[in-house]
Each structure stands twice: as structure tokens, then as C-alpha cells.
């Protein structure tokens, strides 16, 4: 289901003025500290009453600035993972987790609770109270609490910021599954390019209370002009499909007519898969190189060269697998004599492709 958000609010000193559509899937709100991400989410949740605007899903109007009607928070059926944990201090972890269940119209099965507890590694903490939990433990409980309330809209405000990489890698697939297997619109705030690349269906970039860029993640990421946190985080997204799992632990995928190797990735042949190829991880060569440890070498043609202030340049290439970006130095650009239209080879280490945080990979 899609969610459309249009709102204007004046905080006195800070004005929020956004208008975007979050199509089905997961929409990432991306932007610097203080750019208004949490405020947008609060408005969707009903905790901020905007001066004007309209917030609606396909079948429900949550807020209408014209009529002034606002659905009360508790009837919006949202799951909100707050930026800070906000746990109920007087309830055990278990009762925090299941708090929303009793209000849910369709109450998930008990097995769902066990699954979420398992995924978040909260099994040993169920009878503790939030007071004594570590920071990361608290934020995991808060994730679980929102997920278990059977929401029809999920709002996640930097849910993984306080967690270690291994823990993140255990939780990310859950969000992927939510994105792929349910119809719930998800608004997700994150500062991590990796998280964004991995999860985003749509990216909404914000700056000073305004949307500066919004669109499908694949498009936004293929654009050399979009480098969310400086050019070194540029990278293209490639849609692929699993072909086979090899005995030596590699998974071969089909991306357009091209085939790529990556570390074993869960899924059965035929499953779709999204790969992010960071511009930094791509090397270019005029001739097809030999005897390299890199397994993936794609022929391609330079379509654009973007030079910025720094010593690096961003090269856009078309390859059989799709458009990709490569970040190389000016010096290499000159040495290799690349210009628009030059054919060349993109060398990608297999282990560099793909879903970075997953420890099962690599």
C-alpha cells in the first residue's frame, strides 16, 4: 500500500515543508541531523499536528489539514520505533513486547512473538525490567514492541543505530521480509548508506525541512549526482536473480545478461536480489585483466564522467548488468584516457558486492 505525505508545519525557527509519496515497500528518509526526519514521522504517527497538509494511505486518511480532521494516534494502527527506546519502565520486557498485541485487531500468533524474540536475541531478558538493560538491549526491545503490535504502517526512526554490526545483520532480513512479503508501508530513517542501499525501495532525501530528492532507490543510487554523504558513498544498485549456489560457497546470480559471483546468499534459485556496488569498490581497466583474484569483470562503456572538487571522479558505465558507478582518481582518469563512450572493463571483487552487513555472507 502506498502512503502519501504532504505537510507544512512551522516550529518557529524551523519550518517543515514536505510532500512525497511513499509507494509500496520501504521508504527511507535520509538527511542530516536536524533536517526534519523525525518530525515527518511524528506527523504520520499523529504525535505532531501539522499546520497544514494531508497524510493518507490508499484506503485511509490519517490527517486532513483542510477539514482539520486527524485520526487519533491510537486508531492509526502504526508501529513506531522511536529514536529513543521509550520503554514502559514498570513493565517487564515481555509485557513491553506484547503491549500492543492486545489492542491489535488481528492478533498475531504466539509463534510470532517467539520469532521476534529470537531474532532480537531477547530470550534471556524477558523477565527483566527495562531499567537495567543496556542501550542496545533497550533499542531491541523497542523494535520488537513496534513489530509485534501488528501495525499497518511501520515507522522506524534509526532503529539500528545503537546496535553492533552482527546484531544489525540479524535484524535487517526481518525488515527485508516485511518489505517484500507484506503490504505495509514502511518509513525508515537511517544514516547508514549500507542500510539504505539494502532496504530502500524509495529514497526521500531531506535537507532543512524540505525534500531535496525523492524517487526509486535504484534510480537515485545510479545517479552520480546523488551521493548522500559525500561522493565516497556513491554506489549503484543492481537488480538480480539467484541462479545457482556453488559448492565452494559462492552464489551465482543473473543480472540482465550478465552473471556475477557473490558469497553465498540465502534464497532459492529464481529469487530476486538487490545488489549494491559501491563506486569505490569498482576498478576500471581498458583491457580485460588476467590472473586477478577478482571474479567479476563486466565489459562496459563510459556514459558520463562527473568531476568534483576532490581528487576523485565518478564514472557512470553501462554494463550488461545495468548502470554502475566507479570512483577513480583524476590521475587514473588521465592515465587511462577515459572519455564518454570509451569501452572499458569494470572489475568488482565478488566479496565486495552485495548485502554487506550479513555475516552469513563472507
Amino acid at each position: 500500500m502506498s502512503l502519501s505525505v504532504s505537510l507544512h508545519h512551522d516550529f518557529g525557527g524551523f519550518a517543515l515543508d514536505v510532500d512525497f509519496r511513499a509507494p509500496p515497500g520501504l521508504t527511507v528518509l535520509f538527511g542530516r541531523s536536524g533536517s526534519g526526519k523525525t518530525s515527518v514521522i511524528k506527523a504520520v504517527a499523529g504525535l505532531l499536528h501539522p499546520d497544514a497538509g494531508r497524510i493518507a494511505t490508499a484506503d485511509r486518511v490519517l490527517f486532513d489539514g483542510v477539514t482539520g480532521r486527524a485520526l487519533p494516534v491510537h486508531r492509526r494502527r502504526i508501529g513506531y520505533i522511536f529514536q529513543e527506546p521509550r520503554l514502559f519502565p514498570h513493565l517487564s520486557v515481555r509485557r513491553n513486547l506484547t503491549y500492543g498485541r492486545r489492542f491489535a485487531p488481528r492478533r498475531g500468533d504466539r509463534a510470532e512473538v517467539d520469532r521476534v524474540v529470537e531474532m532480537l536475541g531477547l530470550g534471556a531478558l524477558l523477565d527483566r525490567r527495562p531499567g537495567g538493560l543496556s542501550g542496545g538491549e533497550q533499542s531491541r526491545v523497542s523494535i520488537g514492541r513496534a513489530l509485534l503490535s501488528a501495525p499497518e504502517i511501520l515507522l522506524a526512526d534509526e532503529p539500528l543505530a545503537a546496535l553492533d554490526e552482527a546484531r544489525k545483520a540479524e535484524i535487517l532480513p526481518y525488515f527485508e521480509r516485511l518489505r517484500d512479503e507484506t503490504d505495509i508501508p514502511i518509513l525508515y530513517v537511517s544514516h547508514s548508506v549500507q542500510e539504505v542501499a539494502r532496504l530502500a525501495t524509495t529514497v526521500v532525501a531531506m535537507e532543512q525541512g524540505r525534500v531535496t530528492r525523492a524517487g526509486p532507490a535504484v534510480e537515485v543510487f545510479a545517479d552520480p549526482a546523488f551521493s548522500p554523504t559525500g561522493p565516497r558513498d556513491a554506489g549503484a544498485l543492481i537488480e538480480a536473480r539467484i541462479l545457482t549456489h556453488h559448492a565452494d560457497g559462492l552464489t551465482e546470480v543473473q543480472a540482465g545478461p550478465a552473471r556475477l559471483h557473490l558469497p553465498r546468499t540465502p534464497g532459492t534459485p529464481g529469487d530476486p536480489l538487490r545488489l549494491r556496488i559501491a563506486a569505490q569498490d569498482v576498478m576500471l581497466a581498458r583491457e580485460a585483466p588476467q590472473g586477478l583474484s577478482a571474479l567479476n569483470i563486466l565489459p562496459g562503456t563510459v556514459t558520463a564522467i562527473r568531476e568534483d572538487a576532490g581528487p576523485g571522479v565518478l564514472i557512470s558505465l553501462t554494463t550488461p548488468a545495468g548502470p554502475i558507478l566507479a570512483a577513480i582518481t583524476r590521475r587514473s582518469l588521465a592515465a587511462m584516457g577515459l572519455t564518454t563512450g570509451t569501452p572499458c572493463h569494470a572489475i568488482i571483487k565478488s566479496v565486495a558486492i552485495a548485502q554487506r552487513e550479513d555475516p552469513r555472507v563472507g
Binding site: H74, G79, F88, H90, L91, G100
Partner: protein
């Protein structure tokens, strides 16, 4: 014990306990409501309500008792009206409880309100996002969090009721067995020369009872605090 106390005193003690207990218990829901209204709602007449609640604190108890007599006495319009439904306060222990409850009401409301003001609204917001209706929110989040204030309010109200006598005796008089509470008995002893010793005995008794209530409330409050602190 029964030796140490005369039968009338014994009766006064029992009555005092009954009156104080019911005064406290009956005030609780109203006190909660009033505290909630004062803390969370903005409505015209809010400050008036606030003042009204504080009145018994400001007025000499006799005046409060007299006002009660004027409004809820058997001959007063409101009193007669309620009397038709079998609700009478005049010269009954219920009247004593009412007077005591009213005298303790400002204390109870203040205590609860202070606790309410200290509840982090973010937690109530969180409950709302999880689908809890206002009433559910109140019972599952707010109420447990203000438990210390409720306890404090209850013990203040109870203690006040154990000591109240000015409004009580003015409103419902002092009828042994139906409205003679410990404080009235104490007062009576103090009116006669040489009654101090007898008065002291009853004073000691009410002190012991109040101490018990106080200790109990502290104990409960500690438990609640521990739970909330996550220990």
C-alpha cells in the same frame, strides 16, 4: 486491650478506622479524576475547581462542617433530595466519612497531581502508537506510574481522616457508636480538667494506627519504585 480501652473508646476506635478507611477509599476515584482534570485538561472553570478542592484546607474546619450542614443536612435541599434515594449523611457515620474525606481531599489531589505532572508524556504517546485508547493508556501506563502519588495521597487522606474532628463534629455531631470518632473522644477528654491522661491514651492509639498506615504505604511505595527502576 479491651481492658485498657473502655467500651465506648473501643467503639470510637472501630468507628474511626471505618470512617477513615471509607473516606480514603471513596475519595480515591474522585481524587484521581480531579487530579487528572487539573493536570491534563484545560477547561473553563479549571482554576475554580482547583480552588474549590483547596477550600477545606483554607477554611477553619468548623466552617467546612457548617457548610456541609447547610448543603447536605437532612433539611438542606440537596440533603433532602439525596435522602429520597436513601442517601443520608446527617448524624450518620457516612457523614463523618464524608467530612473527613472532604478535609483530606486537597491533600490527596495534590499528591496525585504532582505525580501525574511528573509522568513523561512520551510514554503515553508510545502507548497510543501501540493502539491503546485513552482509557487503556491511563490504566496500563499512567496509573502504574503514578502509584507512588496515589499511595501518598491515600495515606495523607487516611491520616487526615484519623485526626479530623472539627468539620466532622460540626456536621454530624458526636453520637457515641455512630459518629463518635477517636478525635472527638480526645477532644472531649481535653475539655475537662484532668482529662489529659485519658486523652493521651487515645492519642497514642491513633498515632500507632497512623504509623502503621504510614509504614505500609512506604513499604508499598518502595516496591513500586523498585519495579519502575527495573531492579
Amino acid at each position: 486491650m479491651t481492658d485498657w480501652l473502655g467500651p465506648e473508646e473501643w467503639q470510637a476506635l472501630r468507628l474511626s478506622l471505618k470512617v477513615s478507611f471509607w473516606a480514603m477509599l471513596a475519595s480515591l476515584p474522585l481524587g484521581l479524576l480531579a487530579a487528572y482534570a487539573l493536570s491534563r485538561w484545560r477547561f473553563p472553570g479549571r482554576q475554580l475547581l482547583n480552588l474549590l478542592i483547596h477550600l477545606p484546607l483554607v477554611l477553619p474546619p468548623v466552617v467546612t462542617g457548617y457548610l456541609l450542614l447547610l448543603t447536605l443536612g437532612a433539611r438542606a435541599p440537596l440533603g433532602e433530595f439525596l435522602g429520597q434515594f436513601g442517601i443520608t449523611f446527617a448524624f450518620r457515620w457516612t457523614g463523618a466519612a464524608l467530612a473527613a474525606g472532604i478535609m483530606g481531599f486537597p491533600l490527596m489531589v495534590r499528591a496525585i497531581r504532582l505525580s501525574l505532572d511528573a509522568v513523561d508524556p512520551k510514554l503515553e504517546e508510545a502507548a497510543a502508537t501501540l493502539g491503546a485508547r485513552p482509557l487503556s493508556r491511563f490504566f496500563t501506563v499512567t496509573l502504574p506510574l503514578i502509584a507512588p502519588g496515589i499511595l501518598a495521597g491515600a495515606v495523607l487522606s487516611f491520616a487526615k481522616a484519623m485526626g479530623e474532628f472539627g468539620a466532622t463534629i460540626t456536621f454530624v455531631s458526636n453520637i457515641p457508636g455512630s459518629t463518635q470518632t477517636l478525635p472527638s473522644a480526645i477532644y472531649a477528654f481535653l475539655q475537662v480538667p484532668g482529662g489529659e491522661a485519658s486523652a493521651l491514651r487515645l492519642v497514642a492509639l491513633s498515632v500507632v494506627i497512623a504509623m502503621g498506615a504510614l509504614l505500609l504505604s512506604e513499604l508499598l511505595a518502595q516496591r513500586v519504585a523498585k519495579r519502575v527502576a527495573g531492579k
